[in-house]
Symmetry: C2
Subunit: 692 residues, 2 copies
């Protein structure tokens, strides 16, 4: 086999000898350093001196809970426990055999402790692989033929490579398909928004075979003739399209000039403390992990010393499209499994992505040759004012007590092809954790004949169909509500029957249903449904009920594809909002470890629930699937204003009073607001009454 | 009849002669000035020289749409149209006859143009009336007897007066009922949180008759004996209660001392312009009204010159409780109809309620004697940063384009008894309007025997039951989407059947159902349901579909009381999320004009829909009911961290592209962020690339 670009890169860049690491001061949950990444890969490569390997992933293998949980507890007690072995998961291809191999390297022992070949699954895609494939596809005779038939210059064409969604339940060769676009032909500017010029053709590519497997001309019809090919012009098919530029320098209309600056300052510094990856803020204490796949991970979350969550992360995001016409129906991406949240993270910048006083966290990534690289600023950490936290005016005296709400915000922004997502974990002062997700970026577009409409989406620019789609995000919540033995309880609020006591018919009450066996449940907002994670062994002395944290599931629309459709079997986690499993190490990804080109055999949360494990008063995991059905608006093009959703985990009879009761009352000497009229900072009577 | 305190006040404070106003420069939607309030009342009083009147309300009567709409349109065209007559609605009692009278005064003509007696309805409550009633009740022999039986000092007792919810379909005398509490007996501090010491007795009061009508001892039992009275001690019944103070000076634990200041500054001033009550910001233009009942009202809302909404306001808030046991089952308040959002508004303060650079709006209120008073700062207007607005990184080049989101925020905070609410209208730069509502304040509490739990709520402090309840808010949306002829369309997203075209079973599409006759509909998030207000006469040239604004209804739980319960007939608007009526002047309050002591005959949106009017391509009104079922948490006591809900009206194929595409890219020279590590304001590459 011919060595690839990265083979050469690996041979030339990587030094010769081993680089030992002494990780004694490293916390078990610290992300791998660049040196650790390189050392782990070195060990794996040294074990295979006669083979060329293409490294896909190199990431911290978190210690098993049986070791890590006692470690964290001892640490919180102020002890200095012995660190569990520092292990690394590496995934690579052996180029000679095309075997996909998982190994576990023990960095302390400097050796591989496990190695096995992965069968019938495909590794995720990586940037180098995608770039090489694209370069090769652009050199193919089939591409040249397409260019000729389109009668447009090859140099304006932008192919967007996609994970190949399954069209049958067969283990296909490793492949990609390309949707072709052009830059604005008038400018061919490298940052021209090509999604405004979709070409009516897709090209499929065999990655290992380095060959085109098919050229598929799109169905470009409308409501009346959607399944008839080629009614649009084949030559210069985007002649009727118009530029849809995002960058001001490429647009003809001018930007607004009436927005005045707004600055956020913290003259006395920030209120949070960062020690390595340990964060402490307003009674919260947790470790912020970060990996290639889930991005930021919250570990060992406690409030005022009480454990609440062992681990919270984003488990998967799946985005299937509505248009069933080949080949655009292959848009069925698993963004975290096929690519990775962490490895799609933007390096954030002061003043652009982040306003105020920032702390940034970096991560180490690996290239196919095993070289590590520090990616800067993948998480920005800062405080935000969020309006009022609580207020009450005592009517008899008129005395007001008011507090403002401060948030600790951990923000990560990712780019996955056309779309961009902003994920932010918000910690508040009243014991709640919120996950805010914002979808932005550019719609995935396809061609449509000029003047036609489609039931599969919205015409967002002439000749451009913004295809309807669904976004499914799954959040994995591993609770430790005052300990690891917890139960998930479904709670509805129900009307009470008429009775002597309820003669007026106004009575209502909570109906509780504990989930005793691993399984699933759905949101039901019209019945006021919530899910509590209780610790049945710890009773709140005030309410006399078990301590708990509550999740009100986001009642988003579930999977629209047919239940027996192949796409549904690839992501059964999209069929229910709530899943409860018994905890198991390595059960982390709800659509399975290997989603790329999966065809219903990848495992995942549905399979794990089918074990029927006891999950009552047990070490359990709660998974919540939410998202949105996105029927594009014209307003979502050429770039989409953020579509925001928030999931909240809040204490429910966990504390013995409002945990934010001790937040200082707001006052003007602290907050220094001004009025437009005077511009001066004034004292005022309300604030005078508020002590700080 | 004996003159009341306010009768005397009116006689002594009010001057003799008329005070003419020349309102020629006044806009038809400007709120009444203090002088106008007093002049209007003077006219009404002068017409009744032989009678004593008690003024309940005096508010601007907005001109009928037939006059106002053309006026506003002409004004927007730059013309100087003739102002419609300046009319005032006054509501008052004639003390001699106890008649409740509505009059309309024409301030231009200086005369009453209409006057009629209101039959079988009760006026809302006012502060003077409540204070007088409470003072008299505290002097009653029945109260003295209660004090004696409780064996506690009278001076620690705090009676909380409530509108008397209906217990039968009869027109009762005007009345109030009191839930009795005590301050912390150890301090008897005037701002002690009395909701931590509920007494097991309520007192009902006849307002006109000035007498106690009943003394009712509460049911204080728990799950096993909830409908058996008096198992708790009658003497000193709160002996087992504990203080639940809010104010730091009354609490024993100390406030947090680790929160650092966070300041928001706008060194070049704000980006909005206020001209009287006209607000202009980022292509938005609207008039901000304010009245006693709805509080802030958005009039004549346009974006970039295109009309979108004629009028948006909060129509009603209704809060029924779950506990059917007399007399705490009478908690069925209509906060806006029984009392008034506007007249419950706090005077907001820099640095406490509001952070940053503020503009405030005042309002004029009336007292029973017809004296006007300026209430300062009932709305604060300011800008907020709201994170990112849109971002995309162009993968082929790595070039990122990112904008931050600025909001214009109009905030009003109200106190209604124990509860406080924060309502904020948010205007964004992408053409959307959001209503954010935050519930805070103190739970309505009742007594429960120590050590018992109840199905009707949560024990939030020893001996204190935080009763479960529902909050229903109704927002009234009078659209003018590119004109007054609009249609509401219900849209679901539905799975498509298998077919040759949809052979993979992944296809889905929108199912549209126009609402052609006045009626109702419900939220259905699991079917992706939204409601579009379309203008069928204006077609978006890009999407080729009617222009529209979209409401995704908040899928909150509807009325839990039985459909045939009396309480349901008082507020049928709580039975459905969406109501559509044909526009009619004076159809503004969804539970009817007179909610206080209503018993199913108050009219309102249900009655109006029953006319079966055509609402397709018609001047229509869309009403949305939303809220929450609130099962209290211990964490909600002694004061509740905000519970936040947001309703959004967003453009949907109204514009021809993302309306925020012209927002300048974010950059560091504009936003001046800092990093914790260095504290310095740095330039950076991303921002360097962003022009402003």
């Amino acid at each position: 086999m011919v060595p690839s670009i990265s083979d050469i890169l690996r041979e030339t860049v990587l030094g010769p000898g081993p680089k030992p690491i002494k990780p004694t001061a490293i916390h078990p949950l610290d992300g791998l350093s660049v040196a650790e990444v390189e050392r782990a890969c070195e060990i794996a490569k040294n074990n295979r001196p006669d083979q060329h390997i293409w490294i896909k992933l190199c990431t911290l293998r978190e210690p098993p809970k049986a070791l890590l949980a006692p470690y964290l507890e001892a640490e919180r007690r102020g002890e200095e426990p012995t660190r569990p072995p520092r292990e690394v998961d590496i995934l690579f291809f052996i180029l000679e055999t095309r075997d996909l191999v998982e190994v576990i390297v023990d960095l302390d022992a400097e050796r591989e402790v496990k190695s096995f070949v992965v069968k019938t699954h495909h590794a995720p895609l990586d940037r180098v692989e995608l770039n090489e494939a694209k370069a090769a596809m652009l050199e193919s005779p089939e591409f040249a033929q397409v260019v000729k038939e389109l009668a447009i210059p090859a140099e304006i064409i932008v192919p967007q490579g996609w994970p190949y969604g399954a069209d049958d339940a067969v283990d296909h060769p490793r492949r990609i398909f390309y949707i072709l676009y052009t830059r604005d032909p008038k400018t061919n500017h490298p940052d021209s928004n090509h999604y405004a010029f979709p070409l009516p053709v897709t090209i499929s590519w065999d990655i290992w075979g380095k060959k085109v497997t098919s050229v598929d001309w799109c169905y470009t019809g409308g409501e009346k003739d959607s399944f008839v090919k080629g009614t649009g012009p084949k030559q210069n098919p985007t002649a009727g399209c118009q530029p849809g530029e995002i960058l001001p320098e490429l647009r003809t209309n001018k930007v607004r000039d009436d927005l005045k600056p707004l600055h956020v300052t913290q003259p006395e510094g920030v209120s949070f403390k960062v020690t390595g990856q340990l964060l402490e803020w307003q009674k919260w204490r947790f470790r912020l992990g970060f990996n290639y796949r889930e991005g930021p991970v919250l570990h060992d979350v406690t409030y005022d010393g009480r454990p609440i969550f062992y681990r919270i992360s984003l488990s998967e995001m799946h985005v299937p499209y509505a248009d069933p016409r080949p080949l655009l129906n292959m848009r069925q991406v698993f963004d975290f499994g096929d690519v990775g949240l962490g490895r799609s993270a933007n390096s954030l910048e002061n003043g652009c992505d982040c306003l105020g006083v920032m702390h940034y966290m970096d991560t180490a990534e690996v290239d196919p040759s095993g070289n590590g690289r520090l990616v800067k600023n993948v998480v920005c950490i800062h405080e935000q004012d969020n309006g009022l936290l609580w207020k009450h005016t005592n009517a008899p005296t008129g005395r007001a007590a008011v507090t403002r709400q401060r948030l600790l915000v951990l923000q990560t922004i990712i780019t996955v092809g056309n779309y961009d997502y902003i994920f932010a974990w918000h910690f508040d002062q009243a014991g709640a954790i919120h996950l805010e997700s914002r979808a932005t970026g550019i719609l995935s577009t396809g061609p449509i004949d000029l003047g036609k409409k489609s039931i599969y989406g919205t015409v967002v620019s002439p000749g451009v169909l913004g295809t309807s789609h669904q976004h499914f995000i799954n959040i994995r919540i591993d609770p430790s509500i005052d300990g690891h033995k917890n139960t998930v309880v479904q709670e509805d609020v129900v009307r009470l029957p008429y009775s002597e006591e309820n003669s007026s018919g106004i009575g209502f009450a909570v109906e509780s249903t504990p989930i005793t066996k691993s399984g699933f449940a759905d949101a039901d907002p019209l019945n006021g449904r919530s899910f509590k994670i209780i610790n049945p062994n710890v009773i709140n002395p005030i309410s006399m009920t078990p301590v708990s944290y509550k999740l009100v599931p986001h009642p988003s629309q579930l999977r629209l594809a047919h239940p027996d459709a192949l796409i549904t079997s690839r992501a059964p986690f999209t069929q229910h909002h709530i899943w409860v499993t018994k905890y198991a190490d390595d059960e982390v990804f709800c659509a399975g470890q290997y989603t790329n080109q999966s065809y219903g055999k990848a495992g995942g949360v549905k399979e794990w629930t089918e074990r029927g494990d006891n999950v009552e008063n047990e070490d359990l995991v709660l998974w919540h699937t939410f998202g949105l059905t996105h029927v594009p608006r014209v307003e979502d093009f050429p770039v989409m204003p953020v579509e925001t959703h928030t999931i909240t985990l809040k204490p429910c009879n966990f504390f013995t009073e409002n945990p934010a009761i001790d937040v200082p009352l707001s006052n003007q000497s602290f907050n220094k607001s001004t009025t437009v009229d005077t511009g001066s900072v004034e004292a005022n009577p309300c604030c005078a009454g508020n002590g700080l």
